[in-house]
Amino acid sequence: MMKFDVVIIGGGLAGMRAATVLQTEGLRCAVVAEGLSLHDAPRSEFKAAGGTILAGDKVVGGVFEGDRLRSVRTEKLGDVTLEADWFILATGKYFSKGIVADMDRIYEPLFGLDVLYEQDRSKWFDPAFSSHQHFLDFGVRTSDGCALKDGVRIVNLIPAGEVLAGISSAEGDAKARIQKSALDAVQMIRRN
């Protein structure tokens, strides 16, 4: 077991932003980054602040106790789990498989979190290619900033970035909204 203050799942814009701010403020953070979606400036800044990056590793599951996520397992660390007070889920949307679309349902594959999406499949997309595509709005459902699993609010699991319902990198102001969601996660951890 390895203990951190915050484990960030995903090394993209949202994950690195939240991780760097928290690490700089003195919390011990680990980012599990499958693939190097961002590898230059944000990574250097985080590492310089003393943060830990598990590059090329992947979270494969977690242990929940009541309304808390206790620990996560990764592909590479085997039986050594990552424990933390807080977890930030920043796994992105369809491209990075933070959200997966099947023929008849849309789901969050890592923990099976509750996902907000249109039940009627014909409403997922608009046949006019360049108009707004609804599937881009789908994502993890939250309650006061925390993720929900089978309707239960997981009090220490905060989704940030594109994995969230309502945020998509296809929108014009996406980068600002992704970073805002990361800073919201930081705020929540600061407050508690």
């Binding site: 077991m1 680990a30 693939g35 590898h39 590059a55 090329g56």
Partner: protein
């Protein structure tokens, strides 16, 4: 549908995002190389149709596996490239390649005449001759050979007492600790013994990584089978296998099944790098370290490419951070450029040094007393190119531990 149609290399999952190209150290420095995407998943589609699409430029791949670390879709790009070289490559290895690759044949030969060999290999005319006749670059500092192998030292000085311990492990020392740098093996024995583990050797062969890289597949496969048998024998006695070399470990765990098609599924869970083994033992309270009171060092950690691929660098950094007097800078992840035998070859020397430049610069900026690094070939490259000494984490731990007090606490 996709789930039902997945190759071992996962190549049909490639999304053409090209992230692999942004992290390839060769592509950035050698225009003759097409890059990981083109050589790997893209080329594979053609090669599956017809082997004539195999391109000889695949030989420029370092097999550093940084593309695999970067890939968001889990495609085993470097494996695809190495496998294609094995399946479609027509060149048989040159004499030079066979010499560089046969670490286990050259080791005993060179070791027997170590003082002469080491002296000769440092002479300009000899290096010039090797350059002209064999294509081993004359600008390269050649590794030193030791006149006494680690195995010889172990049998003479350490083997006798090992059965007296309560816990036991088997040590896969690899060619480097045996022929080039027995001090590393001695440090390993000192640390493991202090923590209360008896150390045992096996009937091991070279892991085969250099043979694989140089196209000597039958020889590598034969060695792989002998090693796995030795591991099975060790496990039947309840002894886990502990290694010190990153690349040997990656070869034993990943390349055997992926590239040599030798099944290791029954033993691979029982092979640990020493840093991983010690971290787990200390974190779980199984063993307790006593550190020297006045020990201090300013070090920079370079994570070797294969360590990053294995995802085990975190164990080294967490372990080193446990040492009270350690001031550790984690260097930005970069390839040192040597990639085993690659950087020794005349045709690769220049590219090899260009690849390593960002790392050398970051070491100069960190200005450490020494670089901490698990890999032996990174050590050669960094020491030659920066002048900063490189220490294996095991040797750092052996130095920082109060071995006597640790032993009293753990062997009682």
């Amino acid at each position: 549908m996709q789930e039902r149609n997945i190759s071992a290399s996962n190549f049909e999952q490639c999304q053409k995002c090209s992230i692999c190209e942004t992290v390839c150290p060769v592509m950035a420095n050698n225009p003759a190389y097409g890059g990981p995407k083109k050589s790997g998943p893209d080329g594979e589609r053609y090669r599956l149709k017809n082997g004539i699409f195999f391109d000889d430029s695949l030989k420029y791949c370092l097999n550093c596996k940084r593309c695999e670390v970067a890939c968001p879709s889990g495609v085993k790009i470097a494996d695809l490239i190495q496998r294609a070289r094995i399946d479609y490559g027509t060149h048989s290895p040159k004499l030079r390649d066979m010499m560089l690759a046969s670490t286990d044949q050259m080791g005993p030969l060179a070791g027997a005449f170590a003082p002469i060999v080491n002296y000769s290999l440092s002479l300009k005319p000899v290096k010039g001759l090797l350059d002209a006749t064999l294509g081993i670059d004359k600008r390269r500092t050649m590794p030193k050979y030791s006149s006494e192998t680690f195995v010889h030292w172990f049998k003479k000085n350490a083997a006798a007492g090992q059965d007296d311990f309560k816990k036991h492990i088997s040590y896969f020392h690899g060619c480097y600790a045996n022929y080039n740098y027995p001090a590393l093996g001695k440090d390993f024995v000192a640390v493991m013994n202090a923590f209360g583990y008896g150390v045992h050797l096996m009937d091991e062969r070279c892991c085969g990584v250099a043979k694989i890289a140089n196209g000597m597949i039958p020889a590598a496969t034969r060695d792989a089978k002998i090693n796995l048998e030795a591991f099975r024998k060790s496990l039947s006695k309840g002894r886990e296998i502990v290694t010190v070399s990153t690349t040997c470990t990656m070869t034993l765990i990943e390349e055997y099944p992926e590239l040599l098609k030798v099944d290791n599924s029954d033993v691979k869970e029982h092979i640990s790098l020493v840093e991983q083994f010690l971290y787990k033992a200390i974190a779980s309270g199984e063993v307790k370290p006593v550190w020297k009171k006045d020990w201090k060092a300013k070090a920079a950690y370079h994570c070797p490419c294969h360590q990053e691929r294995l995802g085990l660098g975190i164990f080294t950094t967490e372990l080193l951070k446990m040492i009270p007097g350690m001031e550790l800078t984690e260097l930005e992840s970069n390839c040192c450029g040597i990639a085993g035998t690659y950087g020794f070859k005349k045709e690769n020397f220049k590219v090899s040094q260009m690849i390593g430049r960002p790392l050398f610069d970051s070491i100069a900026a960190a200005a450490p007393e020494f670089v901490a690094c698990e890999c032996e070939t990174c050590k050669w490259q960094i020491e030659m190119s920066t002048g900063v000494p490189v220490k294996n984490p095991v040797s750092i731990i052996a130095d920082a531990l109060d071995l006597e007090k640790t032993s009293e606490l753990n062997c009682g």
